[in-house]
Subunit: 362 residues, 2 copies
């Protein structure tokens, strides 16, 4: 373990086992718990730590309160050769969206492209995880969701009516995929939560107060403000159309009807999501395409830089390097988070993280 | 006619006839010229004036130089039930993309969703035009393109390797569709050209100099700088993935190989574009969906506003109101533009705009 901004390095496998144990303890079947835990840890590995094991406590809490169904009967209805609707039966979002991924890939093998809508789902962690699962199968993956709380306003509005609805686009390449994974806010609310946990002040362009639109920099007051969209009205507009496509199109709430999963841990969310899979091979041979992508990106990486930039990082690069480093050295978790997980272990009467680490070393 | 920032109001039908005459004069068949002109004027009506008749001079110039094929044999190859590749044979982008729209709608009726890639195409005007054509048929339309010049850098880069690759998403609603139509730069290069034509200084966050990254505010120097992406690295990342999907996937240039259609009016562009059509009815009945969208948007429009905002405008609202106003009162064209069109009429020996107006009144 290494001291780094009071972080510790934990073997990813230990964190995965810990999360699995916790989810089993609150009622998930072992296979589902294992799948959810793996997808959560995948978010941590990729550097999306605000959507990884950091969320475990919240998921456990919602499962204990009966707000998430630990034994969902997920129903997939193919409504056309290239479209399907997945009814998640209020299961953990991770396994519901994973079913959407499988469905989309299967349909796109036949039709070239598939669009799978999801409803009765829940928060599924990092958007990039699911788009990347598609890219690993030689297809372009596009994923979006109605965020599980409204932390933004519509452009010009002072009410929390819009989520930070994320967009992830993953494209196969050589070595590692291109992965764009962005919240439509400047930062995700998960990042705000991380800052709050660490007691760090917020930059002054992340949040505004609802009353007068002035900046909020103390993370303690983050509940009283709105996150700002990235790129002004363009980001707000993107959040809006993604919400209509992930929510309204799937008969899932979008806008005022969205349940704030932080404020109401006991309420069912009925989260809407969608996933697109596009078969690259219907356009050009996959090997030729990934070569073309890799050549273009390498040219970009080697191009002249603006003053102050040490390297040109493209979408998916940082994700790849973090993943490699954390597979080798362990997940970099803040000590605040590991303390929180110890409390959780105590509450659930499961093996603490340290024992999971020891078990792996044994 | 009304004096408004030295603009004049011209009947849309007169402008359309003028553009048709010009395009016929440089070799387009009458039906194609009429279709291109209608799609150009549609951009003006919607308020995307940097992509409307403002571009006519440039298109005419390229056609005269033989850089665009006035008699393309557009080839549509369906590569799967839900995918197709359109080879535009270097025709005017407007008619090539219009074929992609028809193809996507036809395929999506069968498969629920279709993704049509385009290559050997050209600049097609306003992205929103094509997404909206899909929405008017009860489907979600998504369109993107490799911009016809590289006016942006990759994030941290100082070379012009990235276009302002636009994204348009149109969603059916009651009364008028939701239309998000955004360049991935803060503003489009067309807007910069409009400012240059009018001699107006640029805001200091639109462009930077390649040498030191300092702001460019004099539009005369716009050739020496880079447009900034909207939302920093997120907008740059979005431009990159859209370029891979609209360009690389369709074997069209993206990155260093993109031809600058301003700097090289004599060179063939081989523009790449793509269009997605998604059949709403495969998710829920169209009438129910548009009602749901309209209800959500009306709630947004009526919600509380931040100080300084007179109204909440959602994506597609301004487009709708401008269109209604300009259908009624005429297109609002700058007097610089109408003078430019008079010069063009003289060069081509076609009826000037004033005669087209008179012909309509007769």
């Amino acid at each position: 373990m290494k001291d780094n901004d009071s972080s510790v390095e934990i073997a990813a496998e230990a964190a995965r086992r810990f999360a699995t144990d916790a989810l089993v303890k609150v009622g998930l079947p072992a296979a589902d718990a294992s799948e959810v835990a793996a997808l959560m840890i995948e978010a941590d590995l990729a550097g999306a730590s605000a959507h990884g094991i950091f969320r475990l406590k919240q998921y456990v809490h919602r499962l204990k309160l009966g707000a998430i169904n630990p034994h969902p009967m997920i129903k997939v209805t193919k409504t056309a050769p290239g479209t399907a609707i997945v009814d998640g039966d209020n299961g953990m979002g991770h396994i519901v969206v994973a079913r959407a991924v499988e469905t989309a890939i299967e349909q796109a093998r036949q039709t070239g492209v598939a669009w799978v809508g999801v409803h009765n789902s829940n928060h599924a962690g990092a958007a990039g995880t699911y788009a990347t699962l598609v890219a690993e199968r030689g297809m372009v993956g596009i994923y979006s969701a109605v965020a599980s709380a409204n932390h933004m306003g519509v452009w010009g509005g002072s009410e929390p009516l819009l989520g930070t609805n994320p967009l992830a686009i993953a494209i196969p390449s050589e070595k590692w995929p291109v992965v764009l994974d962005i919240a439509t806010s400047i930062v995700s609310y998960g990042t705000i939560k991380s800052y709050r946990l660490k007691g760090r002040p917020l930059p002054d362009n992340w949040m505004i107060g609802v009353e007068d639109g002035s900046p909020i920099t103390d993370p303690v007051h983050s509940n009283e403000g709105l996150l700002l969209p990235f790129g002004g009205y363009k980001g707000a507009g993107l959040a809006l159309v993604l919400g209509l496509l992930a929510g309204s199109l799937n008969r899932a709430p979008f806008g005022r009807g969205v349940v704030d999963f932080n404020a109401h841990p006991e309420r069912v969310c009925d989260t809407g999501q969608f996933l697109i899979a596009l078969d690259v091979a219907r356009f050009r041979p996959l090997s030729e395409f990934v070569r073309s992508v890799a050549t273009t990106l390498e040219d970009f990486r080697n191009s002249a830089r603006l003053p102050g930039y040490g390297a040109i990082r493209l979408p998916g690069d940082q994700r790849h390097y973090r993943r490699q480093a954390q597979i080798q050295n362990g997940l970099l978790l803040s000590s605040e988070l590991t303390e929180q997980l110890d409390v959780l272990a105590n509450e659930l009467e499961i093996r603490p993280l340290q024992e999971c680490i020891a078990a792996i070393r044994a």
